[in-house]
């Protein structure tokens, strides 16, 4: 299959978040960037699907600036065949999805995989928007993906209060959830090969964003912890009942 994996870069999960003095953007000093963990699962799944079927090619696409190229090289080292960067600084999910949709319609992919959300803006919107732009089916939050009969895929997805196994015809957009697979660590051969794999930079189509960030803030700090002894459970329950009013 020809599979496209949508990739974003995000601050490492251990990052302590702070914002610039005008609160307009993340304070990037000292922040380590990684492949969005859910996108990394999507990439690994793409490799597994093509290894199982014995063919096809994997392209990773990122909408953003040149600072994301180390992350794209890492994706090539993990095993993607080529990388594409659409060179713009997107402001919202609609802009990202619009750019990727434009790219997809100029190529021939059977399947688009994306993370179920990015762990920076946590929108979880790009996959669904992309599916609508392309008029392809969407399966959101997949925990397993297997090839089915006659070019379809069998997918398990998380839903409210349970899980559903369903069949979807290709081409389709599927977003990836934890449990789908385990991420791969690139080996030395992969890292060497990544240096010469193609990384193409495309000009943006130029659609603007709908949503504009006014400012950022840190979550309000909490009151100091009130401690109870191991044998003061009645007192703790009383506090939860009378003071916090949550029991």
């Amino acid at each position: 299959m020809n599979i496209l994996v949508c990739l974003s870069q995000v601050p490492d999960t251990t990052t302590k978040i702070s914002f610039s003095s005008d609160n307009k953007e993340l304070n990037k000093a000292g922040v380590q960037y990684i492949i969005n963990p859910y996108d990394e699962l999507a990439l690994t799944k793409a490799l597994e699907l093509n290894e199982a079927s014995g063919g096809g090619s994997i392209t990773v696409v990122h909408v953003g600036g040149a600072d994301a190229e180390p992350v794209l090289r890492k994706a090539l080292a993990i095993g993607a065949d080529q990388a594409v960067r659409i060179d713009t600084a997107p402001m919202d999910a609609r802009q990202v999805a619009g750019e990727i949709a434009h790219f997809v319609s100029s190529a021939s992919f059977d399947l688009v995989l994306a993370g179920r959300e990015s762990i920076d803006y946590n929108g979880g919107l790009v996959g669904g928007m992309l599916a609508e732009y392309l008029d392809w089916p969407l399966v959101n939050v997949a925990t397993s993906i297997e090839g089915g009969a006659g070019g379809s895929m069998i997918v398990c997805r998380d839903m409210d209060g349970g899980r559903e196994k369903l069949e979807v015809n290709l081409p389709a957009v599927i977003t990836c959830q934890k449990e789908l697979t385990e991420p791969r660590i690139p080996n030395m051969r992969g890292i060497m090969a990544a240096r010469t794999k193609p990384l193409q930079v495309l000009a943006p189509q130029g659609k603007g964003a709908d949503m504009h960030v006014l400012d950022h803030a840190l979550p309000p700090s909490r009151q100091a912890c009130q401690f109870f002894g191991v044998h003061q459970m009645n007192e703790l329950v009383e506090a939860l009942h009378q003071q916090a009013k949550v029991l």
Partner: protein, 326 residues
């Protein structure tokens, strides 16, 4: 202003998020005056339950005449909502940012060409020029971003538990509504449904009891489950616990798991790594139980117990049982 609210149901029962969605729309835009809220039910439910959405601010409720929407298929529901948007003349669509909502709103924002404010954590501030200011958590709860939203068509989806439904009206009319979408428009075929039976869905739960490595093994989870049972809570766990397969991954709360905002979160034997706190720090009240008094969880907890879970939990369960018996 005309608003369409999409209200979710499951197995013929309105979900908690359906009440929240109606109340969210009413509380958000009441102050603007001349508000008309039409509710599209995402499937057939009991007529009285549908009429009672009027209590929370609905002006009218549309009940699908056909059973085609009773099970959730994202493409059918997306088309039905577009039909209802056109027929109602709504300028704003409101729904909950549940799994269903997360699949629907991105598709709808493109299909209906609307500006999308997704997963907001409270009611919008409405400015005189007609724009809204909305807030949503970013960086997995480690930050809050404010956005300006304007445009002729808008979609607003809110996090479950973002507000308490408030009664403000009386039961309203329920009108049969003909769905013009047919089953041929479905693009996925459901093969099997596994529903979690008898358990409170984690994202909807008002109280959550969560266990970590301090429980020392899955065989001790009855302590968590007993406590959850006496306070009608859902159960959850930390990432190491789901990674070791002590509990299924759909119980994992944290940065790469589920993000929740219950009224009460009790963390047992969880140290409070930054990734875990990211998923739970919006909880209204946090209780941490840990043997290590230096555990980071005590820095964000409202109430703490330094002690062994095996000793603390049975006593806590007993104390809550006594309270509930009154």
């Amino acid at each position: 202003m005309k608003i369409l609210v999409y209200a979710e149901q499951q197995d013929g029962q309105l979900k908690k998020s359906a009440l929240e969605a109606v109340s969210f729309a009413r509380q958000s835009f009441e102050s603007l005056g001349d508000l008309n809220i039409t509710v599209l039910l995402g499937g057939q439910v009991d007529t009285q339950a549908a009429a009672d959405l009027g209590l929370y601010g609905a002006n009218s409720v549309w009940m699908p005449s056909e059973n085609i929407l009773n099970t959730f298929e994202v493409h059918l529901h997306s088309l039905a909502i577009q039909q209802a948007l056109a027929e109602s003349g709504a300028e704003v669509l409101v729904m909950a940012h549940t799994y269903c909502g997360k699949s629907l709103v991105p598709r709808l924002s493109v299909a209906w060409d609307a500006v999308l404010a997704a997963g907001v954590n409270g009611i919008p501030e409405c400015a005189a020029d007609g724009s809204w200011k909305v807030q949503r958590t970013v960086y997995s709860n480690k930050g809050i971003a404010s956005y300006a939203v304007s445009g002729a068509r808008r979609i607003l989806s809110f996090l479950p538990n973002a507000l308490k439904p408030v009664e403000c009206g009386s039961p309203c009319s329920v009108t049969p509504w003909n769905v013009s979408v047919n089953t041929g428009a479905a693009r996925t075929r459901s093969l099997e449904l596994q529903k979690v039976q008898g358990k409170i869905p984690l994202t909807e739960a008002e109280r959550v009891i969560s266990g970590g490595r301090g429980l020392k093994g899955p065989e001790h989870w009855h302590l968590i489950e007993d406590l959850a049972e006496v306070c009608d809570a859902a159960t959850a766990c930390s990432k190491p616990v789901s990674d070791m397969h002590w509990r299924s991954h759909d119980e994992h709360v944290g940065q790469t798991g589920i993000t929740i905002k219950p009224d009460l979160y009790i963390a047992v034997g969880i140290s409070g790594a930054i990734q875990h706190l990211a998923g739970v720090s919006s909880s209204k009240t946090i209780v941490a139980i840990n043997t290590d008094q230096e555990a980071p969880f005590f820095k964000v907890a409202d109430y703490g117990v330094v002690g062994d879970a095996f000793e603390v939990l049975p006593q806590l369960t007993q104390a809550i049982r006594r309270l509930r018996k009154g």
